[in-house]
């Protein structure tokens, strides 16, 4: 690992200061959900299924209720109606009732005066099951018609969703092509492993209101889903996100433990906290889908792509979660990196008896990106074109419309590609003396927020209320949720810049459905774009109020007022301080409050499925990996990574760097070690941090980062996303580097030594094009 900052190249940032929440976190003062204690609080524990697929015959809570310290015990169903994050696929009931459909699925919950008493009592719940054969592979029910489907009442049985889209005449593209190529790939599932396990503190008050403090990325969606699940009005429910110890997509919807905490509280009259164990977090999952993919492409003699046919089969696990969106996302963004003139996409997501899959950093785009980039390298080889050059000839230009009707705004993709090409000395790679060492390249694109909300409505995606007090202090109320990415700091940076004031004046209040306007949450890299634009609107209006008062009090013409720092400068050397302007304005118009809101532009596409993919702006990333492969033991060693990312304007430099580094390292884990996989009997292969290794400090190569800021007119002060995009190219870049090093084509993640050795075995033939 290289020390110092020499391996970070950034353009000018709006702020390089420290995060506003950092001191609380280094002194132990920050309160995460599990740190919160309310008077008379009880501890809740879930009772989970030991089988991946079974009919529930009986659940006897009585032995548990008889235990010392037990206050309440509840069994399924946990919700009055089925609920789910996507309105069209609501299939969860929080506590299983007739069947359990994955190992670890909660079916009952216990509250007791101490955690130990609750855990002991949970072991006394007597459950009888009729064990069923688990559905462990997408579509296996078709081969074995006698097998009971995961959800037997569905006419489509285990098929959750099938989609097909075609843009342009793909067959025409393949007809008379100079070259065609085909590849398949299996991208293994993996999970978020936020360091903080999920935790929720629920209280059903004597007045029949609900208070929920929870480790969530999406308090507003949790409130909405909870209203449905409990069958009470949403306005009776207040959901607050605590300080959140990482999310990465894993805390973006309502979870059974959140409902169970509220139900137990209703039953015993006390606040109840449920914190998941690390093992339970692996079962709660909602992580990266395992996806089997196939791509076919057609090319002209100049190395330009004529058509792409892409197919994906998703192993969705036991419930829908965000799976409808994930399914479309495996096809949506292929065209945002490369100008594909004709495109056919087919996808199917299947139910299986495994923990439900959902969104993980890169949501549904990470898997197809791996295949597309690996495939492009092989095409480059077949056509005798340098891999970076092949991409360069096919880049989607900035400010263009893709064939699937996505409006691409600013693009720094070519600049990113050029940067890593130079930084890595790409073109000298074949003259390097080390054997079995190689370089690999890949690039990618990601959204700066989904163009459509999860539940369709015409309302703003983000609202901000701003107040300025008579002491010159500024309060910002926003529903956004800081899950560790620095969202609250981002708000502070933008407000300070927009009002021209010292950030010290600003306090932000966030993630509370009881006090803050709606923001849809921290997912799809939407926060800076949407909450950022909303807060700029609120600040703009506040500035107008202040300027108006300055003008009316001094008789100055608005065009003559210039704000320099915290001073309003008027003609003739007259100045007015920010605080004076605030006092005048409050006297003129009353307490100073403004609002701002943001609604993304309408999507251009009008086809079914057009709602997934549009975004106000796209970020771009390029990556080169330098790896060597040990032919004896199959170990892959990553020597260095070069990553160039285009987040538009850099709002807060440390957060941008943190997001890029964190994403890149998470990508390294996905390509080399991480897998959420299951034994043939449906048990998780290792629901703990030894069985599921993630990168440690010892696994990190030097990572050189170049920030290529291509401001987008739609972004707040030109900013785009940085939270998810940088993960995507790392996986294929490493696989391409392995191919460059030892000449083997790998078609599966994670690239563990056994797969490398198998690839190196002379008996396994190199797969040609």
């Amino acid at each position: 690992m290289s020390a110092g900052t020499s391996d970070l190249v950034t353009p000018k940032a709006l702020s390089v200061g420290h995060r506003i929440d950092a001191w609380a976190k280094v002194t132990g003062q920050a309160l995460y959900a599990d740190d919160i204690r309310w008077p008379n609080m009880a501890y809740g524990v879930l009772v989970a299924s030991p089988y991946p697929h079974a009919r529930i015959l009986t659940v006897d809570l009585e032995p548990a209720k008889a235990m010392v310290g037990v206050l309440a015990a509840v069994a399924g169903p946990g919700s009055v109606t089925p609920y789910g994050i996507m309105p069209s696929t609501q299939d969860e009931q929080a506590l299983a009732t007739d069947k359990v459909v994955y190992l670890g699925e909660p079916l009952a919950a216990i509250a007791a005066t101490t955690l130990e008493a609750a855990r002991n009592a949970a072991r006394q719940v007597r459950c009888e099951y009729e064990v069923l054969k688990p559905v462990l592979r997408p579509g296996i029910g078709k081969e074995k018609p006698g097998m009971e489907p995961v959800h037997p009442d569905r006419p489509q049985r285990d098929l959750f969703k099938e989609v097909e889209l075609e843009f342009g005449d793909t067959a025409q593209g393949f007809f008379k092509a100079f070259e065609t190529a085909e590849d398949t790939f299996f991208y293994q599932g993996n999970t978020h492993v936020a360091m903080e396990p999920h935790s929720a503190l629920g209280y059903w008050t004597p007045e029949g209101r609900v208070e929920l403090i929870t480790a969530t990325q999406t308090p507003h969606y949790v409130q909405r889903e909870l209203a449905l699940a409990l069958g009470i009005a949403s306005y009776r429910i207040r959901v607050r996100a605590s300080v959140v110890g990482g999310g990465f997509g894993g805390k973006s919807e309502l979870f059974p433990h959140e409902i169970a905490a509220v139900l137990l509280s209703r039953a015993c009259g006390r606040p109840v906290k449920i914190t998941l164990s690390r093992e339970e977090v692996f079962y709660a999952h909602r992580g990266r889908h395992p996806v089997s993919m196939r791509v076919k492409t057609a090319w002209d003699e100049n190395g330009r792509i004529r058509a792409m046919d892409f197919g994906s089969v998703l192993d969705g696990g036991a419930y829908a979660s965000y799976g409808l969106a994930t399914t479309y996302y495996t096809g949506a963004l292929q065209t945002v990196t490369y100008a594909i003139p004709r495109y056919h996409f087919h996808a199917a997501r299947w139910y299986t008896n495994k923990p439900p899959c959902g969104p993980k950093r890169g949501h549904g785009t990470t898997q197809p990106r791996a295949l597309v980039e690996v495939h492009f390298d092989r095409v480059a080889r077949a056509l005798g074109i340098d891999p970076i050059e092949l991409r360069r000839r096919n880049l989607t230009p900035g400010y263009s419309l893709t064939v699937n009707a996505l409006e691409v705004g600013s693009s720094g993709l070519e600049a990113c590609l050029n940067r890593v090409e130079v930084l890595s000395n790409w073109h000298t790679r074949h003259s390097r003396p080390e054997p079995d060492r190689g370089l690999g390249f890949a690039c990618s694109a990601y959204l700066s927020g989904a163009g459509l909300p999860i539940y369709w409505n015409p309302l703003p995606h983000s609202g901000v209320r701003m107040a300025v007090n008579r002491d010159g202090g500024v309060q910002v109320f926003s529903g956004l949720t800081d899950i560790g990415q620095g969202a609250e700091t981002m708000l502070t940076v933008l407000v300070a810049k927009a009002l021209g004031i010292n950030p010290d004046r600003i306090r932000v209040y966030t993630a509370d459905t009881g006090t803050t306007p709606v923001d849809l949450g921290s997912y799809s890299s939407r926060v800076s774009m949407m909450a950022g634009n909303a807060v700029l609107e609120a600040a703009q209006r506040m500035r107008q109020i202040l300027t108006d008062s300055v003008c009316s009090r001094t008789g100055a013409n608005p065009s003559q007022v210039i704000q320099v720092g915290e001073l309003f400068e008027l003609q003739g050397d007259q100045t007015v301080t920010f605080t004076q302007a605030v006092l005048w304005a409050e006297e003129d118009v009353g307490p100073l409050t403004t609002f701002g809101g943001y609604t993304p532009p309408k999507a251009v596409g009008r086809y079914k499925g057009a709602g997934v993919g549009p975004s106000p702006a796209y970020s771009f990333t390029a990556c080169v990996a330098d790896v060597s492969v040990d032919r004896e033991d199959g170990q892959v060693r990553v020597h260095q990574l070069w990553v160039a990312h285009d987040p538009g304007t850099v709002l807060h430099a440390p957060s941008v760097e943190g997001q890029i580094r964190g994403g890149v390292v998470m990508g390294l884990g996905e390509v080399l070690m991480e897998r959420q996989s299951f034994n043939p009997d449906g048990r998780h292969r290792g629901p703990h941090l030894l069985g599921y290794p993630i990168p440690t400090i010892q696994d990190i190569p030097p990572i050189t980062i170049a920030v290529v800021g291509e401001p987008d007119p739609k972004g707040p002060m030109g900013a785009k996303e940085v939270g998810q995009g940088p993960l995507n190219p790392v996986i294929p870049a490493v696989i391409n580097a392995i191919s460059d090093a030892v000449g083997i084509d790998l078609n599966e993640t994670p690239v563990t030594p056994d797969k490398v050795l198998k690839g190196l075995d002379p008996k396994s033939r190199r797969k040609g094009l």
């Binding site: 280094v26 002194t27 132990g28 164990s277 993630i694 440690t696 400090i697 010892q698």
Partner: protein, 166 residues
């Protein structure tokens, strides 16, 4: 199950707690003493988030039966600043805390208390640790947000700051 009084000195103050002997130090710190700065990431000794000092040595609180810590001096992240101030009266914060804030080593912050306690023990033992020494000492501490680089950077900067203060 055996219960009894256990006396501990936590961040300089003597605490007598009535607990089961098998209760972990992590449970006692968080649930009994309310010192929630020490985090519970896995309860199985695999993540490093619950690292505290027992008589000055970094230990995993989740794997320590509280009975084993009886009579010991316990230092948690809440007491790190005070520990530093004993020898450096001008600052109630450890230079590592300042450096973690200044050099972007904190994102979600959940691993931070454990990282700080491990790193502070390292800096106490080794004035200018090399990158390799830092990596070795922090190998048992998982962080999912930062990619680790900023943490290494902060520790090295803190080492410099510490020497300047002498």
């Amino acid at each position: 199950m055996a219960e009894g009084f256990v006396a501990l000195t936590v961040n300089g103050s003597i605490q007598g707690v009535w607990v089961r002997e098998s209760a972990t130090l992590l449970q006692v710190l968080r649930e009994v003493l309310g010192l929630t700065g020490t985090k519970n990431g896995c309860e199985t000794g695999q993540c490093g988030s619950c690292t505290i000092w027992i008589d000055g040595a970094p230990r995993l609180a989740c794997l320590t039966p509280v009975g084993l810590a009886a009579g010991s001096q316990i230092t948690t992240v809440e007491g790190l600043g005070a520990w530093w101030q004993e020898s450096h009266p001008s600052s109630p914060y450890h230079p590592l805390q300042t450096a973690f804030v200044e050099f972007g080593a904190v994102q979600c912050g959940f691993c931070t208390p454990g990282m700080l306690m491990a790193a502070a023990a390292l800096l106490r033992d080794v004035k200018f640790p090399t990158v390799e020494e830092i990596r070795e000492r922090l190998a048992g501490h998982l962080c999912r947000c930062t990619g680790y680089e900023q943490i290494v950077r902060a520790i090295r900067e803190a080492a410099v700051a510490e020497v300047k203060e002498l």
